[in-house]
């Protein structure tokens, strides 16, 4: 698990006659990671005269047919609204594999013409039905419009004669708002305007017929009034032509016919829809399965595009896990009757990477996908993150109560959202570590102790006897007073534990965090050392990575020398420190050049950066203490309605703190890995191993 899977670079040359068989076999094996053909790769080193033209491969001949079939199939899936993921579970539960569908539809290997014919028929049928549906809808809409217009004619008692072009009279017919008001306004313009108003079917609008003299000069004013009322002209001439003379009995007859036509059309539309539904119901399983099958076959048909081809042979280049090599060789030789040349070479620079982590470490690969995959020559740091990520998270959050809440929360989310399983597994594990550190720090929802009285009650009732301590409480006034409390047992007090470092009183949790940083960074340097040693030489590794360790040693010796602190009983001269430090710096300069010198202070600021492990935790404790002791307790002591308010503040405060307490430690822990840790050894730039045939099958 420290290394990614060992890969062999495999180049195969085979006659084109075996193309189809080889591709099928490779697909079935699902282990060949193909390097796409590049013309330049094959022309290096060959003499111009000997060089035979190696070209990009051509797809299998059925490729085109399959591609057009898949386009039609997807169009069908969309128009029939067949949900892919919705049916996925159902499909998987049925467990029909491609062999079954082939048997069901009686198709021989590689021959899809029957199925494609079936698909074509279905496609044409569905297209016709859709066309039909569209046409019927249009007809229904037209009939509806006509009914609307003819109803207007009926309401206004209009006849064809009335609407005839006349020498003297001009007329407007249309709908408008507030018809009666409009009528009054028109009457105000001139008494020689006739206006008739009726209610229309549209809410808030009336129908109006306005007659006036053609030679009248009021035309402009009339138009203004009508516009003010939102007049919409309606053309009734055509509809009157259709109804004959527009006599009442004709009109009723006409409306009746239209209604009949509409209901017939609606019935037919319904039938068409039913037909479409039937097709959907009966064939959706077939369509989805066929899509899967077609996708697979198209992948096979198109894969030669990634190969090289000459007139008679094809050349493939790619990667296979070394341990599977024998099997692949055997199988390919068997199906081609030894007419294939396979050349394999262990290891290579640009090999794709395949993680080999056990299931418990696997979720942490997520972090590498998020960042950058390791290259083939590097150690895979996933297992290190598996140890340190939850550890850092736990140290920062470190509270039994919060740990329990996040544990429950992430466990529920894991059930609800299986797609985020990897991330949630990490969070669940981190929550468990949080609880562990919570016990170590003696923190329960930010409470570090309870009052002596409560402690006595607990001791009597549930047999949980907490030790009683006397502590100095510093009040707001600055004066110290002694108070007795029942303290939770703990290994380290985060908020009040101090240690003495060279005469300075420092919070022990910060010092601890710094020391963790020293260990973690040196671990990173050590991994970097191994990486360089393996890929270059011991000398390179010493100069580039060990030099950093020597610089640290020099710094420590300097501090010891100036502080007059003996090491193993021997006093140390500051000079020793200077010598070691200078030696380290010279080595670094030789190894990494000026860039290394520029980065010299970074190693110490990186270590200081690990203090966040303590600092983020302190901030979280601080917030919890404020919520508990400064906000909630005073309210609770007041009694009455204040108790409700107190509980409200308590809940809201802790919810906020938990949200911050998840986001903060998550990001900070991730950052310590990405920025401080990885920068010491990680190069990245790897390509994920994705063998031909694998994706379709998974």
């Amino acid at each position: 698990m420290i290394r990614t899977e060992k890969m062999s670079h495999v180049v195969m040359i085979a006659p084109k006659t075996a193309k189809k068989d080889i591709i099928s076999k490779l697909y079935e094996l699902g282990v060949y990671h193909i390097d796409p053909y590049k013309k330049s790769d094959w022309q290096q080193g060959t003499k111009q005269t000997e060089q035979q033209d190696v070209d990009r491969g051509r797809p299998l001949q059925e490729g085109e047919q399959l591609a057009s079939a898949i386009v039609k199939l997807r169009a069908l899936l969309t128009t029939l609204d067949i949900q892919r993921d919705h049916n996925e579970q159902e499909l998987n539960s049925i467990k029909i594999d491609n062999a079954t569908i082939k048997k069901e539809h009686k198709i021989s290997r590689g021959d899809f013409s029957e199925l494609i014919k079936k698909l074509d028929q279905m496609y044409t049928k569905v297209l016709n039905l859709l066309e039909d549906k569209k046409e019927k809808r249009e007809q229904i809409r037209e009939a509806g419009e006509k009914i609307k217009l003819i109803t207007i004619v009926k309401h206004l008692h209009l006849t064809k004669d009335l609407l005839r072009e006349s020498q003297y009279l001009e007329h407007y017919i249309g709908s408008l708002e507030e018809g009666e008001a409009c009528k009054r306004e028109l009457a105000g313009i001139s008494s020689r305007i006739a206006c008739m108003i009726t209610k229309s079917d549209e809410p808030g609008r009336d129908l109006a017929v306005v007659y006036f003299e053609k030679k009248s000069n009021k035309q402009q004013e009339i138009a203004e009034v009508l516009n003010k009322h939102g007049f919409n002209e309606i053309d009734l001439k055509q509809i009157l032509d259709e109804t004959g003379k527009g006599k009442p009995q004709h009109i009723d007859q006409f409306i009746h016919t239209l209604h009949n036509k509409m209901s017939t059309l609606t019935r037919q539309l319904h039938q068409t829809q039913m037909e479409l539904n039937t097709i959907k119901r009966e064939h959706s399983r077939f369509l989805l399965k066929f899509e899967e099958l077609l996708e697979k076959e198209t992948a096979k048909a198109e894969v030669p595009l990634q190969f090289g081809e000459t007139q008679r042979s094809m050349i493939m280049s790619g990667w296979i896990p070394t341990q599977k090599m024998e099997r692949v060789k055997h199988d390919l030789n068997a199906i081609t009757d030894h007419k294939i040349h396979i050349q394999d070479q262990e290891d290579g620079k640009n090999a794709p990477i395949k993680f080999t982590n056990p299931a418990i470490v696997k979720p942490y690969e997520f972090f590498l996908h998020l960042y950058e995959l390791p290259n083939y020559k590097e150690l895979d740091p996933t297992w290190l993150m598996f140890i340190t990520f939850p550890l850092f998270f736990g140290i920062m959050l470190g509270d039994v109560g919060y740990g329990l809440v996040t544990l429950t929360l992430f466990s529920i989310l894991r059930l609800k959202m299986p797609q985020f399983k990897a991330l949630l597994n990490i969070m669940i594990f981190s929550s468990l570590i949080t609880i562990l550190f919570g016990v170590g720090f003696g923190e329960y929802f930010g409470f570090e102790h309870v009052s002596v009285e409560t402690g006595e009650v607990w001791c009597e009732k549930i047999g949980l006897c907490l030790p009683v301590h006397e502590v100095e409480m510093r009040g707001a006034g600055g004066g110290a007073e002694i108070e007795r409390i029942a303290d939770f047992p703990r290994l380290l007090n985060r908020a009040h534990g101090y240690v003495d470092v060279g005469g300075m009183r420092l919070l022990s949790v910060l010092v601890m965090a710094f020391l963790i940083g020293v260990v973690h960074l040196n671990l990173a340097l050590f991994i970097g050392f191994i990486n360089i040693w393996k890929n270059h030489s011991l000398a390179h590794a010493l100069l580039e990575k060990a030099s950093w360790m020597i610089i640290q040693l020099g710094a420590v010796l300097l501090v010891l020398g100036y502080g007059k602190i003996p090491l193993l009983g021997y006093g140390i001269y500051p000079l020793t420190g200077y010598i070691v430090l200078t030696a380290g710096i010279i080595m670094l300069y030789k190894g990494e050049g000026v860039q290394g010198l520029v980065e010299l202070p970074a190693i110490f600021s990186n270590m200081l950066s690990y203090m966040r492990l303590g600092a983020v935790g302190l901030a979280s404790v601080g917030l919890a203490v404020v919520v508990n002791e400064k906000l909630t307790l005073p309210y609770l002591e007041k009694g009455g309605w204040f108790v409700v308010l107190g509980i409200f503040v308590l809940v809201v405060g802790h919810v906020i703190n938990i949200v911050l307490g998840v986001i903060g430690p998550f990001l900070h822990s991730l950052r310590l890995h990405y920025v401080e840790f990885f920068s010491k050894f990680y190069k990245g730039g790897g390509v994920l191993y994705s063998p031909f045939g694998q994706k379709q099958r998974e």
Partner: protein, 73 residues
């Protein structure tokens, strides 16, 4: 008495100034990172790293603030 107040003010300035500084720095980087992510989603990891780099400033501020409070003790 008065000294305690000054120490408290000193500690809060140390923390507030460093918090502001990292906020300003992260604002600029975060904007650019989101822009880059909109074009290429795989940049999330790198964007995150670049965005949180100035976070160190505020941690140092917090540590310094704690050290200053230690003076009062």
């Amino acid at each position: 008495m008065a000294e305690t107040g000054l120490i408290a003010i000193g500690a809060s300035i140390a923390f507030a100034a460093s918090a502001l500084a990292s906020a300003i720095a992260e604002k600029a980087i975060g904007t650019a990172a989101i822009g880059a992510m909109a074009e290429k989603e795989q940049l999330f990891g790198k964007g995150l790293i670049l965005t949180v780099i100035p976070e160190t400033i505020v941690i140092f501020g917090l540590v310094v603030a704690i050290l200053i409070i230690g003076l009062a003790g």
